[in-house]
């Protein structure tokens, strides 16, 4: 129980602040008389409770600092969400039974593209626009993508790889005829360890 990093505090009657924090996180259960009967511990608990009480307000207050900037930002955000969700056109999928009409939503297709990119390793997808008449079977669709690439990765081969992968994924799950795949690399992010492997 005793975390290795800090020795028991004499003022806390043999307990550590870590223990008290965890006790509080558990909702002061099970009731521990050695904590509850120690004035030092009770004082520390009161301080920790006060701290926790302030923490919610702390971020809220920071969030309220720039209402104008936020209003603009939220409006932009909602615009993006609307475009992502509301404008989703239907993408037909052929079925042997002519009485059945199967469709994928455009948002689902975008999801496939994003997934293909984000799971590539070293790429984080941004914009994804399907340019062309996705509702018309056989129409050639151009993809307009943007992404960030991990620092140090050679950009051209990475983008080629991304194109190949997106093309393969769409071929597997949709009947879209994909023409050009335009990729704009608009950012580079610091390269990490685990996620890139």
């Amino acid at each position: 129980m005793n975390p290795d990093h800090s020795a028991p505090d004499p003022e806390l009657d043999g307990h550590t602040l870590a223990e008290l924090g965890e006790y509080l996180d558990r909702g002061r259960t099970p009731y521990d008389p050695s904590i509850e009967n120690s004035p030092g511990c009770r004082l520390a608990l009161a301080n920790l409770t006060r701290l926790a009480g302030l923490s919610g307000g702390l971020l809220t207050r920071q969030a309220e600092r720039e209402p104008d900037r936020d209003a603009l930002w939220i409006a932009g955000l909602l615009e993006i969400i609307r475009a992502e969700i509301a404008s989703g056109r239907d993408v037909p999928v052929a079925h042997p039974d002519p009485a059945l009409r199967l469709t994928l939503t455009e948002a689902a297709v975008r999801g496939l593209v994003r997934q293909a990119g984000d799971t590539l390793g070293g790429v984080v997808m941004g914009r994804c626009v399907l340019d062309g008449d996705v509702g018309e079977p056989g129409a050639v669709i151009r993809l307009d993508l943007s992404c960030a690439v991990a620092y140090g990765l050679p950009i051209a081969p990475t983008v080629d790889w991304l194109r190949e992968r997106v093309r393969a994924e769409l071929a597997r799950h949709t009947e879209l005829v994909i023409g050009a795949i335009d990729v704009a690399v608009d950012d580079v992010y610091p390269r990490g360890g685990a996620a890139d492997v």
Binding site: P3, D4, H5, S6, T16, L17, A18, G21, E22, D25, N47, L48, L51, A52, L54, S55, G56, G57, L58, L59, T60, R61, Q62, A63, E64, R65, E66, P67, D70, A71, W73, I74, L77, L78, I80, I81, R82, E84, I85, A86, V124, A150, Y189, P190, R191, G192, G193, A194, A195
Partner: protein, 162 residues
């Protein structure tokens, strides 16, 4: 969509501050909040109690921010940790409660990145120790230690306001 716009206006700014503190980058925070709203929109049906919407959104932001951290986790390089923004002064910083929040905000910003993250995920994101450990790729014992140190430092900084 109207109702969702209301939710976004109400909680977006908090989500943004939270994500920005977790990631140490405003640009990434904006992306994370955007992704979180998309997820939130799609899963709005899962939200059983509307009064929990804030906690629910904060959990989504937490998990999206953790995804980002995983993406470029190595260690807390000085390079990928923006220095805390200088605190913008407002003319009426005289109320004690405000000063107290300011002191706490500065104290939070001074904590090492991993301590901040643990503390934020616990106190704001409502994550359990185990979830924090999994999210940050750390042993639970380390999370305990980081959290305890974060609390200790914050309490020490706040001493003046007791």
């Amino acid at each position: 969509m109207q109702a969702f716009a209301l939710i976004a206006r109400r909680h977006g700014p908090l989500m943004r501050v939270y994500a920005s503190r977790l990631l140490g980058s405003d640009g990434e925070a904006d992306d994370v909040v955007q992704e979180s709203f998309l997820v939130g929109w799609r899963r709005l049906g899962d939200l059983d109690r509307p009064e929990h919407v804030r906690a629910w959104l904060m959990r989504i932001v937490s998990s999206k921010a953790i995804d980002r951290m995983r993406l470029h986790r190595s260690h807390d390089d000085i390079d990928d940790w923006d220095p805390p923004a200088p605190d913008a002064s407002s003319p009426d910083r005289i109320v004690e409660a405000r000063l107290q929040f300011d002191a706490m905000w500065l104290a939070l910003n001074r904590l090492p990145a991993e301590q901040q993250r643990c503390w934020l995920l616990r106190e704001i994101g409502g994550y359990r120790y185990q979830e924090i450990a999994e999210g940050l790729g750390l042993p639970v014992s380390t999370v305990r230690g980081l959290l305890a140190r974060a609390r200790q430092s914050l309490l020490r900084e706040m001493e003046a306001w007791r």
